[in-house]
């Protein structure tokens, strides 16, 4: 299989306007990945799937990753003039990297039996901007896995045909795989339909004011 640089160059030529970056992987596994931009992600994925030399038709694994805000402190030696005397002092500099959520796709080729080519998508931030384009129209296998990421990480996949919670129950509100998730004290509490059901049943009965106390139960507010 061709190298990641060649794939990147050909993908950028095939999809005009696509901005692809290579994310290195320092470990011994040596599996670097391609970082796609949101606007052209589906087009690039379609190119990877259909290109005759790549034929990456098998999207094996879709993973969500949460990267928190990071502050990297580096100690820098700075020359300072203190009372006509030049001194070298250590100063700590803080650099702030905003956090983001990430979806990682592992692509293989069943037809040509090679791989993996790893594709990443990053959200703008971890709050309102946690949105990504869905690759389910290109790879059907991402359907449940993107739903799982939506459920556990809270990334909204635009263009997903059926984006619902999959593992947690529908009334659940948080996203438990996020790194800053805190379990609520009463996490076993589930809202039962008890009160709603009472409200509903009231609609089925006429008000009966002649009965003592019944109006409390039956009258509409």
């Amino acid at each position: 299989m061709e190298s990641l640089e060649e794939i990147k160059a050909r993908a950028e030529a095939a999809v005009p306007g696509a901005a692809i970056a290579i994310v290195p992987n320092p470990g011994p596994a040596n599996q670097p990945s391609l970082l796609l931009d949101h606007a052209h992600a589906a087009a690039v994925a379609g190119f990877l799937r259909d290109d005759a030399a790549l034929r990456l038709d098998h999207c094996s694994n879709v993973t969500g990753v949460d990267w928190l805000d990071r502050k990297v402190t580096t100690k820098v030696k700075v020359k300072k003039i203190v009372v006509r005397e030049e001194k070298e002092e250590e100063e700590t500099q803080e650099e702030f990297f905003p956090g983001y959520l990430e979806a990682v796709y592992h692509l293989y080729s069943v037809a040509l039996k090679h791989g993996p080519v790893i594709v990443r998508l990053r959200t703008n931030d971890r709050g309102q901007g946690a949105r990504l384009p869905s690759l389910t129209p290109v790879y059907r296998s991402a359907e449940f896995q993107e739903r799982e990421i939506f459920d556990l990480y809270g990334i909204h996949f635009d263009g997903h045909p059926d984006l619902r919670r999959i593992l947690m129950w529908d009334e659940f509100e948080d996203h438990p795989m996020r790194k800053d998730y805190r379990e609520p004290d009463d996490y076993e509490y589930e809202p039962t339909p008890h009160d709603d059901v009472i409200e509903k049943t009231k609609k089925h009965y006429d008000a009966r004011p002649e009965l003592d106390g019944a109006e409390k139960l039956t009258t509409q507010p």
Partner: protein
């Protein structure tokens, strides 16, 4: 007034408006059944305690008469956020927990996880340990496929007998696992860079005896079951899957190969020592339930061949890479995705290390979860009784699906 026949019913009630468009995907439905309820749909919640759902799994099925027009699987009854627990424990601490994913095949789960960590940290595995892994993985495949055949027949109404025949064989394999690792199902046997302990005396002779006797069970099982007329009627042309959809939907394992796609990670990736062994990859033609069932039978025969070769060739030597520090294990920062051909399909682990003792991200790629993606496509247009057969032929274990 009770309206007994469908004709009477429709004469009185007339056609009804429904919110669903009733368009069964395959118009040539089995037994030539067509919609006779004028589109009146019945919603059935199958599961989560249905005996044929192989655990706690639910499907919301919309039925037109007996025909499935909509099916939405509901997951999460066994969800305990395995991945979060994996992030909060050390690398070694997750090893026994992987047994609980697919509790039928703890050995292959161990191997997939050990393989990914070995990729992440760049570790070598001694020769004898690789042979042991192959032997144990193939024994796992034997017992998984054998018990799946039993379950599938049990789903179809062949209560008891086939399942008990399969479980009799499975029990012998579990006895071997127990004498090796101390536990029948939760083996926790493999380690990063090798295996936990060497074979006890006499183990290999017992295993050889089992493997040599296994074809006899298979012949008997095939004679009893596979050519059975009812089984053929229930499975052939039921739940057909095309090769294109199977590849696009990420279907792996025997289910993919039943569609005629030659993709077996033992051949493709050549992990372990599989390139050293001679074996063939059985392929299906139609992609229906019968092919999926036969795929398991044929794979069992190939696994027996691999086992006989591995048992003849296994060398003496260490079973653990002495350079690996199991305690306080800290792989260098980076990420790795490792995968093996589990009995149910491609089982992968994706790990991100930040250089600390816990993985930053620990992801399981569960084969049976992703194989369920096309459950609705397979069931549409079939009768509700076929849903159980189709689900059984997919081979799911909820410990892995819900994680």
């Amino acid at each position: 007034m009770i309206l007994s026949s469908r004709a009477e019913r429709s004469a009185v009630e007339g056609p009804r408006d429904t919110t669903f468009a009733v368009t069964p995907q395959d118009p040539s439905t089995p037994l030539g059944m067509t919609s006779s309820f004028q589109g009146e749909l019945l919603e059935v919640s199958m599961g989560p305690q249905h005996p044929s759902t192989h655990g706690v799994f639910r499907m919301n099925v919309a039925l037109d008469g007996e025909i499935v027009v909509k099916l939405k699987p509901v997951f999460g009854y066994l969800h305990r956020n395995h991945e979060k627990i994996g992030e909060n424990t050390s690398y070694l601490g997750s090893m026994p927990y992987t047994d609980r994913l697919d509790y039928f095949c703890s050995m292959t789960n161990n191997w997939a996880y050990a393989l990914s960590v070995e990729k992440l940290a760049g570790l070598e595995v001694p020769e004898r340990a690789e042979y042991l892994r192959v032997i144990l993985a193939e024994l796992t495949r034997l017992q998984n496929h054998a018990s799946l055949l039993g379950f599938l027949l049990s789903d179809m109404g062949a209560w008891g007998t086939p399942l008990m025949y399969a479980f009799r064989e499975r029990e012998k394999i579990l006895d071997l696992f127990e004498s090796l690792s101390g536990s029948r199902m939760m083996c926790d046997y493999m380690r990063f860079g090798g295996c936990r302990c060497d074979l006890p005396p006499g183990w290999m002779d017992r295993a050889r005896k089992l493997v040599d006797g296994f074809p006899r069970f298979l012949d008997e099982f095939e004679k009893l079951v596979v050519s059975n007329e009812i089984l053929i009627a229930r499975t052939q042309d039921v739940g057909k899957l095309s090769a294109e959809l199977a590849i696009n939907a990420g279907i792996t394992g025997p289910m993919l190969r039943a569609c005629g796609v030659n993709y077996d990670l033992r051949k493709v990736d050549g992990y372990g020592f599989y390139p050293r062994f001679k074996f063939r990859i059985p392929l299906g033609e139609h992609g229906d339930c019968y092919d999926r069932l036969m795929m398991r039978v044929l794979e069992l025969r190939e696994s027996i061949g691999i086992l006989q070769q591995a048992m003849a060739e296994i060398p003496e030597g260490p079973i653990m890479n002495p350079k690996v520090k199991i305690r306080n294990f800290r792989p260098p920062a980076g990420e790795a995705y490792g995968r093996i051909e589990g009995p149910k399909g491609e089982l992968g682990f994706y790990l991100i290390s930040d250089g600390s003792g816990n993985p930053y991200r620990y992801r399981v790629r569960p084969p049976s979860f992703i194989n369920l993606t096309i459950l609705e496509d397979l069931c549409l247009g079939h009768t509700v009784a076929d849903v159980m057969v189709i689900l059984g032929s997919i081979d799911i274990v909820m410990g892995e699906v819900d994680r």
